[in-house]
């Protein structure tokens, strides 16, 4: 590992200024992804700007009924938070489906959103990878890509985003709060991560030096039935092969709100807008869910070795939706 300087930021402004002074720096939160990538040589920052002690470690209920989660709240604390468990169960469930107890105790909201792909070529500096080294090619495209994307990928990158939490945030219509040299702004969680296109080196919409300060869960989805389900190679402690977060509201026997996001199948949490539109106003039957999910997945373009993911995410999504419908008192 290359030597680096260490700066502990006492305020957002101090963190942003430290970055301006050292554009080759990285923000350090829990370090569970960054330190790993530094050991692998994938990340070689000239400095770490420690943001883990910024006063962003609270979960606050806002007057408009939304819930603001600070960027340094630890994943385990967020999953256990009574308001999150009560009003946004999909978020708690997604967090608990990720990593291990030790990792969740350290991992933060901001770091979880910004964790990098687990593509093995990305993590191996001796291999070509457009995300790590733009223009070097994509080792996974014709290589080992069983775990890779089936939706929204490009010839330049077929990686998936590994976060479980981000999938729940996308389905729940959360927003990501950012702070940087250009001021503060918010971006919908479902659009925070990018599709790879010609620039797979850019995972998200965040600008250099910008900080995630928190995420806001809206009043809109508070208290609606929501769930997260993850299919993986073993029962615990493995990344998603395919997952679904969904929130469903049924009024007078018809779907009045549906938020659906797929994980493990694309470069970002895949918000299934076509399926949602197809379901609005529909009677919430298994057949309706199957039809809607199939419509969404008609856009799937599996690679040589990962066509299984299309069926897998379909079955997971339909099960999650049917499960939510059966819990809705209004069901016909």
């Amino acid at each position: 590992m290359k030597p680096f300087a260490y700066v502990r930021a006492g305020s957002l402004q101090e963190a942003a200024d430290a970055f301006t002074a050292r554009p080759g720096a990285r923000y350090l939160a829990g370090g569970t992804n960054l330190m790993d990538l530094m050991k692998l040589g994938v990340e070689q920052p000239e400095a770490l700007i420690d943001v883990s002690r910024l006063p962003l470690d609270t979960v606050e209920e806002l007057p408009d009924g939304s819930l603001r989660v600070g960027a340094t709240v630890r994943n385990s604390d967020l999953a256990a938070h009574p308001v999150v468990r009560d009003r946004y169960p999909a978020l708690s469930r997604a967090l608990l489906a990720g990593a291990s107890g030790q990792l969740r105790n350290v991992a933060t909201t901001g770091g979880n959103l910004l964790q990098r792909t687990r593509c093995p070529y990305f993590q191996d500096v001796t291999k070509p990878c457009n995300k790590r080294s733009p223009g070097s090619g994509c080792g996974a495209l014709e290589g080992v890509h069983r775990d890779h994307a089936v939706l929204g990928h490009s010839e330049h990158c077929v990686a998936t985003h590994p976060s479980d939490m981000a999938v729940a945030l996308a389905a729940l219509d959360a927003r990501v709060e950012l702070y940087g040299p250009g001021g503060a702004r918010t971006v919908p969680a479902a659009r925070f991560h990018r599709l790879p296109g010609d620039h797979p080196e850019r995972d998200t919409e965040i600008l250099p030096g910008e900080l995630v300060t928190g995420v806001v869960l809206p009043a809109l989805t508070a208290g609606l039935p929501s769930a997260y389900r993850k299919a993986r190679d073993r029962a615990s402690y493995a990344f998603a092969l395919a997952s679904t977060a969904a929130v469903l509201e049924v009024t007078d026997g018809a779907v009045s709100h549906a938020g659906i996001a797929f994980g493990g199948v694309a470069h970002r949490p895949w918000r299934a807008r076509r399926a949602e539109e197809a379901l609005l106003g529909a009677t919430p039957t298994r057949a309706a869910f199957e039809e809607a999910v199939d419509l969404e997945l008609s856009a799937a373009r599996p690679l040589r070795d990962n066509a299984y993911k299309v069926d897998l995410v379909r079955n997971v999504a339909v099960d999650v939706l049917a499960g939510l419908a059966s819990r809705t008192p209004d069901r016909v």
Partner: protein, 211 residues
């Protein structure tokens, strides 16, 4: 009270006593001047240590190399196996991924800090969970054991504090202690791999010490 390796803790360039947080930017803060190391104070098993550490030093290497506490093990060095699990401010963590400089002011408990003459059921000074691992034959080679024990202690505390797990009924009331069934123990310890496959006995050992 000293664990088996504790006497070696002071053999290095370790000063006792707490120091203020002094992050070293550009060599400021008492570091050797290249800006690549920092002065850090960490309490380990009740003893404060102030050290000048290379910023690259992770807690696991600090414990093993600088303090001679070799209980926490290096398996994967990448957060994947749990052999390096210790408690930081009472929470279980993978020490291989934590930069020591970021832990300034923290209190660390390693497996060496668990044994306490007062707690041994038969006067052997072991922590009840250590005793249970022996009684249940919950290991073969023992390499994963310190991490399993620290992880289990962390997990027991989390469940008592009402933290749910992936296998907890989502409808269970928040804030109440979660009973540690076998499924719960297995799920909560899934971050600790055992290449010898001692899992069934590990679960039994943990069950033995549940309140």
């Amino acid at each position: 009270m000293d664990g088996p390796h504790h006497s070696t803790a002071t053999r290095d360039d370790v000063r006792h006593g707490r120091a203020a947080a002094r992050p070293a930017a550009d060599g400021a803060g008492g570091a050797p001047g290249d800006g690549h190391s920092s002065t850090t104070t960490i309490e380990v098993n009740g003893v404060p240590h102030t050290l000048a550490v290379d910023n690259r030093r992770v807690l696991l290497d600090l414990l093993r190399e600088d303090l001679g506490l070799t209980g926490a093990k290096k398996g994967c060095d990448q957060g994947q196996c749990g052999a390096c699990t210790v408690l930081v401010d009472g929470r279980r963590v993978n020490s291989c991924l934590l930069p020591a400089v970021a832990l300034d002011g923290s209190a660390v408990t390693t497996v060496e800090g668990l044994a306490d003459g007062d707690e041994g059921t038969d006067g052997d000074g072991l922590h009840p969970l250590q005793r249970a691992f022996l009684d249940r034959d919950a290991f073969q080679c023992g390499y994963c054991t310190p991490g399993q024990i620290c992880s289990a202690l962390g997990a027991i505390g989390e469940a008592a504090a009402g933290h749910p797990s992936h296998v907890t009924d989502p409808g269970a009331p928040p804030g109440r202690p979660v009973p540690l069934t076998r499924d719960e123990i297995r799920e909560r310890l899934s971050g600790n791999l055992c290449r010898c496959g001692a899992y069934p006995h590990i679960v039994e050992a943990v069950e033995d010490v549940l309140p």
